[in-house]
């Protein structure tokens, strides 16, 4: 094999390695930027509620102008997190995203009970304690120690969105402490 062919093969092998590394890194990098932005403003395990998106909204690409959003950077390093909402009558969901952007769980209308929907997000080892301390909450094992919770609440008529704003303000994302 000539020296130039070897060189071309080495270049292609390296290019393939760079290709895979870059593609795999993109979701993590973009999620990390989002988490750092929100985290710098608010810290972790706290909810950031936003008004209806407009052309000036730049937090996330392609926001829906028909949805009120509330975001929380969850951090399970100190234990499970309790996520809850007092749902409105219109469409809503609480969705959980891993750092690679996978939507690994969501809570929505069918999960509400007695005007409330609640989940405990933790690591697999937390399941037993969470189920005994929060019998009415759904336990969700997270694939990693941190990620994003995003609440979506539909506003069909922005002139009458009091109920949706109240529901948005009811979203909780807090460390799960016994009885809390």
């Amino acid at each position: 094999m000539s020296r130039w062919i070897k060189l071309a093969l080495v270049t292609l092998a390296l290019a393939a390695a760079f290709h895979v590394a870059i593609v795999e890194a993109v979701p993590f990098a973009i999620t990390t930027i989002f988490m750092r932005r929100i985290g710098a403003r608010l810290g972790t395990n706290r909810v950031l509620a936003s008004p209806l998106p407009t052309d000036k909204s730049r937090a996330v690409v392609k926001p829906s102008p028909d949805l009120l959003y509330a975001a929380c950077i969850y951090d399970l390093s100190s234990g499970p997190v309790r996520i809850a909402i007092r749902p409105p009558a219109s469409y809503w969901s609480l969705s959980l995203f891993a750092r690679n952007t996978d939507n690994f769980f969501k809570l929505s209308a069918e999960d509400a009970k007695d005007g409330r929907a609640e989940m405990i997000l933790g690591q697999a080892k937390d399941a037993g304690r969470a189920k005994s301390e929060y019998p009415n909450a759904r336990f969700v094992a997270a694939p990693g120690a941190s990620g994003v919770m995003l609440a979506r609440l539909l506003v069909l008529d922005p002139a009458h969105m009091e109920a949706e704003v109240a529901a948005q303000n009811s979203v909780q994302c807090v460390p799960a402490t016994k009885g809390g």
């Binding site: 080495v10 390296l14 290709h19 973009i30 996978d102 929505s108």
Partner: protein, 194 residues
């Protein structure tokens, strides 16, 4: 001596350029075994899910971060009209179709940067609550740079393009089971460009 340094460095730079360029192209044109194309609209049933694969996952991170998986929401994207011409912000389009069986649905316009388009009416989308249908059960909106009678969806004007997203939340089970045959709105160029 220079050759010993320059050659490996050149290999590294060329490999990096090739790797980064091909990565970006593949991220923006992700192959997927579950891609659906209906007229000018396209989607993937793997969006948001664990089966997304590295290219689709990266594509969604760039073009629609935190998309929900198909069991909750289906997102159809269109960047061309019915005959495959790119949507231009300076041109006008009639977007016509029928409501779909779902908890709610909407049609939103985005600029080339994938953010909402500034416009004097502060109108960014139409949804099932404000897009009226005619006696035949169909709706029509006009995506255009200047104000239009009826349902005007501003495109912003200028030299760039725009794209549309059709969101379907909590699709009816029969719709979800037959996504490939769903009737989506047509996108037809009308009039002359501004």
């Amino acid at each position: 001596m220079m050759g010993r340094v320059l050659l490996p460095l050149s290999v590294l730079v060329v490999a990096l350029l090739l790797g980064a360029g091909s990565a970006w192209w593949m991220v923006m044109h992700p192959p997927t075994s579950h891609r659906l194309t209906i007229g000018p609209w396209r989607t993937s049933t793997d969006v948001g899910g664990e089966n997304a694969g590295m290219y689709l996952r990266a594509n969604i991170a760039v073009t629609g971060l935190f998309a929900l998986n198909t069991s909750e929401a289906v997102y159809f994207f269109a960047a061309t009209d019915d005959i495959g011409q790119p949507l231009r912000a300076a041109c006008s389009y009639a977007v016509a179709g029928k409501p779909v069986a779902a908890r709610w649905w909407s049609i939103t316009a985005y600029g080339d940067d994938n953010f909402l388009i500034p416009n004097p009416a502060n109108r960014f989308s139409f949804n099932m609550g404000n897009l009226e249908t005619g006696a035949d059960g169909t709706f029509e909106l006009i995506a255009a740079p200047t104000e239009q009678p009826g349902h005007w969806l501003p495109t912003g004007g200028g030299a760039g393009g725009f794209n549309l997203t059709f969101r379907i939340y909590n699709a009816a089970p029969e719709l979800l089971a037959n996504l490939a045959t769903i009737a989506l709105p047509s996108i037809r160029a009308i009039g002359s460009c501004a």
